[in-house]
Symmetry: D3
Subunit: 136 residues, 6 copies
């Protein structure tokens, strides 16, 4: 078993906001992240798949195929978007890095199995001091 | 003469949009950056000052003083903000990296001279593939 | 279950030295790291916690809370310090990256459980070519 | 149990090519990586070992010893080489990052056990967007 | 006047070799870089242009236009290539980082002037410890 | 004219301290950097030389020669040292990044001219948020 990771990037706006709370409560819990006018990030996304290398190619999964799949299913949907307004797989959810990683996992899992490979980890780096990892 | 650079960071939302143009024209010129719902970035800001080292400290300018000045005048104003809506020194301007760097220069120039030092360069890294530099 | 990592930094002096050995033996085993006058590093610390996202916030643990906790319990104790002389949780121990990571784990474990979360990993990057990881 | 990682670097040329396929088939599967004249990479290699810290040194394994071992067994064999032509442990294999990581594991495993330590992971970063990990 | 830099990447094989010298002389001067079977690098290319921001866009030059131009004129020509065999603008030249930077400058200069902008600097990072800069 | 930069690294302890001041005054001006027991850094050193490429090699200066020269004259003198106690070219000086960069310039200038090249810049990165540059 070997693990292959492909890194892609996207830029997006978001805010952390709970509609059931007052603005004051949102400010208290989410701090500056609750700015109603949004802020944003350059996100770095690591998608790790696992499997046995194919004897005809030496590849667990062609990294270009993996990159194209991430671009089609994720980057084209979230890049230069507003995570609170524009992204179908996040509708009605908090746009925390945790929820974004879980959403990306759900979008990719079946697609990667169609490639005879297993999704192992979605790692999402939100800022230079915070990242999250989800293993399903 | 020696050059000292302090690096600070901020996260912000913005969009590139010319109000005198149609949405189609904005889309054509600014591409994905014209999303009306905004996108965003983790900005990395390098502020370079120059001068002679003080014989009592070995410093051109105390890096902590420089960092505090950048935090007070810039980071507190732009961090977790919407550059098109929340930042006084950008009101009425395109929020391109170029204009943001020029705006930061104008906010800092006199403050740094009060510290008996000269502002040399504002470098602003917008994404991992684009940065701008302004020397006044 | 999702994993959240917060990165913090500190700068410190240290030396690797076994008091029960001769200077020659220390030099032989620890090489340049045994300089009696100390050397130092910019340490990069990754603290990973795990748990379920809170349904009210989307957070496993508020990253600001986690950052504040690391700053209070670790960074304020070790930053700009001499690891061999100034740090209570290292008194009487070798200041190897391994022991420093274990010490940080012990300082943080209970504090993180008070936040209804579980400490998963302490990763400590000592130089650009060496890092250690401790999982308890 | 604690994990210690040493990072080393090497530069090499390679091509991805299956001798049993036509040039057209190689081009279709491997794309630009099938250029018969080779291309190349700056590889970054992370070797992780695990064990208990030695009570006399605080070390799981002396990082200098680990670095010297990686340099002798791997870097001197692959650095500034052509992976398809010059590297004995890759003769007759595809020079994918996957196979290179497996080959490095096989070269290092016994050597690290001679140091009373256990090889845990070989991580190989091929480009800024692809890396592989092998745990045996 | 403001300076805008676009970063692009390419991977290539090369060797340093003077045909007028003996293999021994090549080995003595170029060391491991003279391996006849080639080695390779992940090159990072910074192209800096300068000009006044356009009052209609806030741009010195549209970064996407600049990126497309670098991709068409440079990356498509050198990426996944052998610099000694495949690149017309290097035929008959040593493939040192210096000559590669000068060649890139010559390929880009007129194209950038067609965009009403001035090429300021080509910076080429060959490894994590060597880079060159050319200002024409 | 082309510019070539070689990057080297060293780790060192230091403190910022003015012997003519009281401990309170040192604390007020230098903050945590005045800890009498020292702190330390991983320094990253960029040495830039300039000249014309040699027609026989394509090199302004052989990067290996430049690296060896920096290692012999600088890294062997400062690596794993205490800048306040162990480094002859800093005796009696404040060990600010500014003075360290000036000291490195003075140590290297004549050596580089012996190689028929001109020293252009010494850049010293002290932490991830502070660097200095000296051009003589």
């Amino acid at each position: 078993m070997i693990f292959v990771t492909r890194i892609e990037h996207f830029n997006a706006a978001h805010k952390l906001w709970n509609d059931r709370w007052t603005p004051e409560m949102n400010k208290e819990v989410f701090g500056k992240c609750s700015n109603p006018n949004f802020h944003g990030h350059n996100y770095e996304l690591h998608v790790t798949v696992k499997g046995e290398p194919n004897p005809d190619t030496g590849f667990v999964m062609n990294a270009k195929t993996l990159g194209d799949l991430i671009k089609t299913k994720i980057v084209e949907v979230v890049d230069h978007c507003n995570l609170n307004m524009d992204v179908p797989f996040l509708f009605g959810k908090f746009t925390s890095a945790e929820n974004l990683a879980i959403g990306i996992w759900n979008e990719l899992k079946d697609e990667i199995e169609l490639q005879h490979c297993t999704l192992h980890c979605v790692k999402l780096i939100e800022t230079r001091s915070i990242y999250v990892e989800y293993y399903g």
